[in-house]
Amino acid sequence: MIKILTVAQREFTTTVFTRAFLLGLILPPALIVLGIAISVAFSTERAPAVKGSVAIIDRSGQVASTLTAKFTPEALERLYRDDAGEQVSKAVSKAADQASKGPADPVGAVGGQLDAVQAAAAIAGTTPKLTLDVLAAEASVDVEKARLSDWTVDQGGRLMLIVIEPGVVAPKAGGPIETYQVFTAPKLDPRVVAPINRGMVHQAVVDARLRGAGLDPVRIAGLMSLAVPRAAEVTKQGERRGSGAAQFIIPLAFFMLVWISAFSGAGQLLNNTIEEKSNRIMEVLLSAVSPFELMAGKILGQLGSGLVIISVYAAAGVFALVALAYADMITWWQIAWMMVFFIAAYLFIASVFTAIGSAVSDIQEANSLMTPAMLLIMIPMFAVFPIVQNPTGTLAKMLSFMPPFSPFAMIARVGSNQPPAQWVIALSAVFSLAAAVGAVWCASKIFRIGVLLYGKPPNLITLLKWVRMA
């Protein structure tokens, strides 16, 4: 036993007390957070700054005039800068002001302001520079459509054509409900199209219908302007914003903690075992300890390193939850179960990796045996999202009792908002641990034979044969 502990101690200290380990502990999460922050900051749903004209054939005669009133550079700026949905109401009120103040010739008014605002927009450079082109109502759709395919990013040209039939604004009683048509130039960025389509034209048509029904669009818009409230959760500590997202993040976090810690420790084992073989230190070690003592010590030592990782991250996570006042979302028994399932997951994976490491002499040879091990790694990854979304579903329940996936499936369920009953968790834990012990036993059979074997690495079948040997 003492020898096992001696081996374990060396394994632990040479893994954990290194710069690489500490950096690996701190850097990845820091980098991930930084990466997310940067990509959020730089990502944009903004449309590219293309230039061109939006042509409209308004056969209803009701829409074009309001549209031209709205087609100001400032409105465009706001339209493209913010969420299309939210901007509708703002654009409407602004256009309403202008319409009431503007002259009878909306097109002229727009044209006059165009130069001034375009200069500003040019400096900003991030809003499409669009002009409105009102075509004659009798214009041929096919002819006008054809010009769209001539549009280029550099030269500009006509990039959109909107065709509004009379029936769109004044639907015939009992007739089909029509909508207007939108044609665009090829490969036009949808982010340019959507705000014009959904934001401006759609609203202009609806406004025309309202006016046709004798309603005041401005008044209606005001009545409809109502924000949808966010639900507030009432906890014993008081109220807080809804924790919707957190309810999915927390089980995911539990899963990731177990996954990262288990595979980190097991990966070290693989590398260290291969190193001991390729450095030819194995024979010296085996003159002092038995193969089982060596293997057990290494597995124990790396269990320690995995525990360091999971404890540090768990502590950080708890700290974050407390800081955000979400502390009541997790309980101590969840963390306790996480540790249990981590041990089960780690032991199983560590056994597989140790067995592989003992059978080969260098890292390249490990690749051929790693394929089944990769399955071990990837399947939980694929399964975690469905399980988190549906903790009581079939997939979740099935995997909960299928080692080696059971610890992962279970811990995702334990962290979710529909955790299973305690006895179910305990049963899965027993299964997982039993499977882990079995894996260690099989690994020791392989390790015993593999460690002093050099030369052509055995394949999977041979490894299984070794397990069955006395």
Binding site: K3, T6, V7, R10, T14, E275, E276, N279, R280, I281, E283, V284, L285, L286, S287, A288, V289, S290, L452, L453, Y454, G455, K456
Partner: protein, 331 residues
């Protein structure tokens, strides 16, 4: 017990290859035995069987009175032919770790590690990483880890390989020291001069079979080459002058030196006096038997031609260590 290791009719095959055949061996306690033989002779296989790393196909084996070396791990020190270190560990830590694995306490292992490193001149590199050491330094460190825990039995497989003459001499002295302290030592080597210098028993293995098992004295008397080495002062001196001596069988001239073979039963000292009186010589000496010569004699027979001997000599001196292959075959 007076016998540290006993092998009886041990046989080991790897597939079709017979690595060791019908090996009988008795290593008395406190003796220093040299296992000699060329690469591939079966030395490492034999050692691995002693260490219970490999197991014989047939025959019996006992180590320190037990059926297997596994039961006496902490009383045995082992330096395998293929030996490495933990490259990223500090030298002092590595030696200490090895000592602890052999059952020494943390305190004792630290003290012993420091002591030994100083003794072999590696005191300054204690805090360096093992990978920063030269090959010779690494070998010394590995040797230390084999003996640091005061083992009763020390088994060294090719301890001198890769060492320069200075370090080889140092190692030889260290091994001798252990011997003087009463420990049983076996070491294998294909450089027979190493064994000649310090062993009190020599075991010669060739192609899996034991060809020789004697003390140096016994070897000297049995394999007296009955040859004089004569280096005449004048290059043009006539060998015929010496050939006509009654004790002389024949004279072979090799460059500047005459190898004078004596007739069976001839008295070497008389022949020596005779040669010296007939030819002015720079040097006349009785050629000392070397294990290499004996080996060649045994393997090729006394009638071996010079070319055959030279070939075998070169094979013996080539210092490529055998790598342990998947089937364990090799040495």
């Amino acid at each position: 017990m007076s016998v540290a290791i006993k092998l009886e009719a041990v046989r080991k095959t790897f597939g079709a290859k017979v690595a060791v055949e019908g090996l009988d061996l008795e290593i008395p306690q406190g003796s220093m035995t040299g296992f000699i033989g060329p690469n591939g002779a079966g030395k490492t296989t034999t050692i691995r069987m002693i260490m219970s790393i490999l197991f014989p196909d047939s025959g019996t084996l006992s180590v320190l009175g037990r059926r297997s070396a596994v039961e006496s791990k902490d009383r045995i020190g082992y330096l395998p032919e293929e030996r490495g270190v933990y490259r990223k560990m500090k030298v002092g830590d590595f030696v200490q770790y090895m000592a602890r694995l052999k059952g020494m306490s943390t305190q004792d292992s630290k003290a012993a590690s420091n002591q030994w490193l100083d003794r072999v001149g590696l005191g300054d590199v204690r805090v360096k990483k093992c990978m920063e050491l030269s090959k010779g330094m690494q070998q010394k460190v590995q040797f230390i880890s084999a003996v640091i825990h005061h083992p009763e039995l020390i088994i060294l497989d090719e301890p001198f390989s890769g060492l320069d003459p200075l370090n080889a001499r140092l190692l030889r002295d260290l091994i001798d020291e252990q011997h003087q302290a009463g420990r049983t030592i076996i070491f294998s080597t294909h450089q027979m001069s190493q064994a000649e210098a310090i062993c009190d028993r020599v075991v010669m293995i060739h192609q899996g079979v034991k060809r020789l098992d004697m003390t140096p004295k016994e070897i000297a008397s049995q394999f007296d080459p009955r040859t004089l080495i004569v280096e005449p002062v004048h290059e043009d001196a006539e060998p015929a002058l010496v050939e006509s001596l009654p004790q002389v069988e024949r004279v072979e001239q090799v460059e500047r030196v005459w190898e004078v073979s004596l007739k069976p039963g001839a008295e070497a000292s008389e022949a020596l006096a005779g040669v010296a009186s007939r030819v002015p010589c720079r040097r006349v000496e009785v050629r000392r038997v070397s294990l290499e010569d004996i080996f060649i004699d045994i393997v090729e027979g006394r009638q071996a031609t010079r070319e055959q001997r030279q070939k075998l000599r070169e094979a013996l001196r080539s210092s490529t260590p055998t790598a342990a292959r998947g089937d364990g075959a090799g040495d």
